[in-house]
């Protein structure tokens, strides 16, 4: 049942059509299973208002009703942007995140980070450069902030449907940005971040993934949180090697010694903790051909060979960890593969030295 009394139509006209459309499309994106959670997190529509909506209708009708409620509350562009941020926070895996590292000059003062100053400074820098830009902020856990930027130009209004996101943890030199399609604005974004956070330089790291939390764990070096203390009760030897050698005493593993060696080496390199989640590692090789055989067509080639090797997996590091125990690769694995979390990169350029 659609609600279209004359009064509502009058009120609807107060909200910009494009804004209403933005609300409609943003709310439509939200899966029904998450709808209540997202709306409650947004906390813009009251409990009473939400109760007036019949959530058993077709989704389009529900969205229509919700948009009308937004109009009643005189929702602004900022409210819509906030809802968009919340949706993205719930669906952060839908974006691919890059990592930037900032640095300070030598002898810089102690970082007395003021969140309000940061936000105001960041916004001003972007607004001064581009007359048309929408900047919205949402504070998050651990003194971090999610920033949403809708880019426009001198003459065009901001495109609300292709925003960039930045997640910044205060008093750290790192920022995580969703790869924006509008790459031309990247230098400006970098500048705004650097100046607002009182750094001098910004550099893009060779690290990229959909899994923002894993990127944070890698960059902040928080992925290995197991430490030996006198208070811990589990001893490393007691933990099973995962081989179940004793499952049946009639079965003897002929290569038990080798299996144990592989297990030990794997445990030393990968540890006992869950690996941070990455989907790929990419190696750009620019090397001259090396061969044991003398002669051959490629041996005399002066120019280096260029090739790209890409490893993909739903969970790359766990897959690498299981290679040697599964017998597919020798242990220890190549350091080029095992250095990924430690070096905080999954993009490599390998050249002859």
């Amino acid at each position: 049942m659609r609600r279209e009394p004359a009064g509502d139509v009058g009120r609807a006209k107060e909200m910009d059509e494009t804004l209403a459309e933005f609300f409609r499309r943003t709310i439509l994106k939200i899966p029904m299973t998450e709808m209540m959670t997202v709306l409650k997190t947004w906390n813009f529509l009251s409990e009473n208002q939400l109760q007036t909506v019949n959530f058993r209708q077709r989704k389009e009708s529900i969205v229509q009703d919700l948009v009308l409620l937004c109009e009643e509350n005189r929702a602004s562009l900022n409210d819509a942007a906030l809802l968009d941020i919340i949706y993205t926070q719930f669906h952060r895996h839908q974006k691919i995140w890059d990592v930037f590292q900032m640095s300070k000059g030598p002898g810089d003062d102690i970082d007395l980070f003021d969140m309000e100053q940061f936000k105001s400074s960041f916004k001003k820098i972007l607004q001064r450069a581009l007359k048309n830009v929408t900047v919205s902020f949402r504070d998050a856990e651990e003194n971090s902030v999610w920033i949403r930027i809708a880019w426009g130009t001198q003459y065009k209004k901001p495109n609300q449907y292709k925003p960039a996101y930045v997640v910044y943890y205060s008093q750290t030199p790192y920022a995580f940005t969703s790869s924006s399609q509008l790459k031309s604005n990247l230098p400006l974004l970098g500048q705004a971040l650097t100046v607002a956070s009182k750094h001098h330089q910004i550099v893009k790291m060779d690290l990229r993934s959909r899994y923002l939390d894993s990127l944070k764990a890698i960059v902040f070096k928080q992925y290995n949180q197991s430490f030996e203390t006198h208070n811990s009760t589990t001893s490393l030897q007691e933990r099973s090697l995962g081989l179940d050698i004793n499952r049946d005493s009639r079965i003897i593993h002929e290569n038990k010694v080798e299996k144990e060696r592989v297990q030990k080496v794997t445990q030393e390199i990968f540890g006992d903790y869950p690996q941070p989640r990455l989907e790929f590692a990419q190696y750009k090789l620019e090397t001259k051909f090396k061969s044991d055989l003398n002669g051959g067509i490629l041996a005399e080639r002066e120019e280096p060979l260029r090739c790209l090797v890409k490893f993909s997996s739903p969970h790359l590091l766990e897959a690498l960890k299981s290679l040697a125990p599964a017998g597919i690769a020798d242990a220890p694995l190549s350091p080029l593969l095992t250095c990924i979390p430690n070096k905080r990169k999954n993009y490599f350029k390998i050249r002859d030295k």
Partner: protein
Amino acid sequence: MELANTLKQDGESRGGVLAHLERLETQVSKFHKKLEEPQDAQALEARIHELERLRDNLRAEVKQRQARVKASTANVEPDQTLEISEQEILERKQENVKAILQAYRFTGISGKLTSRGVCVCISTAFEGNLLDSYFVDLVMEKPLWIHHHSVPVFIPLEEISAKYLQTNTQRFLFVLCEYLNAYSGRKYQADRLQSDFAAFLVGPLQRNSLCNLLSFTYKVKLEGQSFPFCARLLYKDLTTTLPTDVTVTSQGMEALPSTWEEQRADHENLFFTKPLHQVFTSFARKGEKLDISPLS
């Protein structure tokens, strides 16, 4: 005599009366046969002596065995209790040492040897409250390096290790300890303010990761009136838990009446000298003493 003996030696009665009669018959015939043999008195005497000796030996053996059994049952308990107490002593010693090693945490810096070096544990505390612990896993190689750690990313660990780790490891640990304890202490104060004194705050407490910039608006009552003050605390020295800069201003820009100006200056001084939550505790106490009228 022999007849009586043979009867006794038979032991149990087998069969019925007829069987018994048969036995008596055979015994009589045996007896007659023996009577026909030449009666050798000496041989008989010797035989008697033999039998007596055998009986004595058997009796002695029985006595010995009985004695041994008694002795062994008596000895079993003392032997076992000896063993238990030795093991118990060792176990208690081991538990004691383990407990001491665990208690080392309370000294602030403790550690455990690992296969590649040592895992240092820095346990922070503030005003007698045990707070978070942080770990640094060191690899004992030349050069010394950190394998992994749980120090928050905003603590300048790289700077501190660049300065001291190689040249003076002890200094490295102490400096890191200072930074972490100060951070823990500042965090504790900010957390206490937010949780225990939320009633005094107007709006949220603004803070950052290092808890070295705190900005908040609070209301204090004086003479039945409550007045909002804006406080901004800066902790420029990351190794301290008291602020280096304090500004308390009135929310509006109007000139304050003199009593309130006094209060403002007084509060500024308090924030400089006392931990944050203690300042608010004293506000709460003052409010209890002076204020009779209900909360405005």
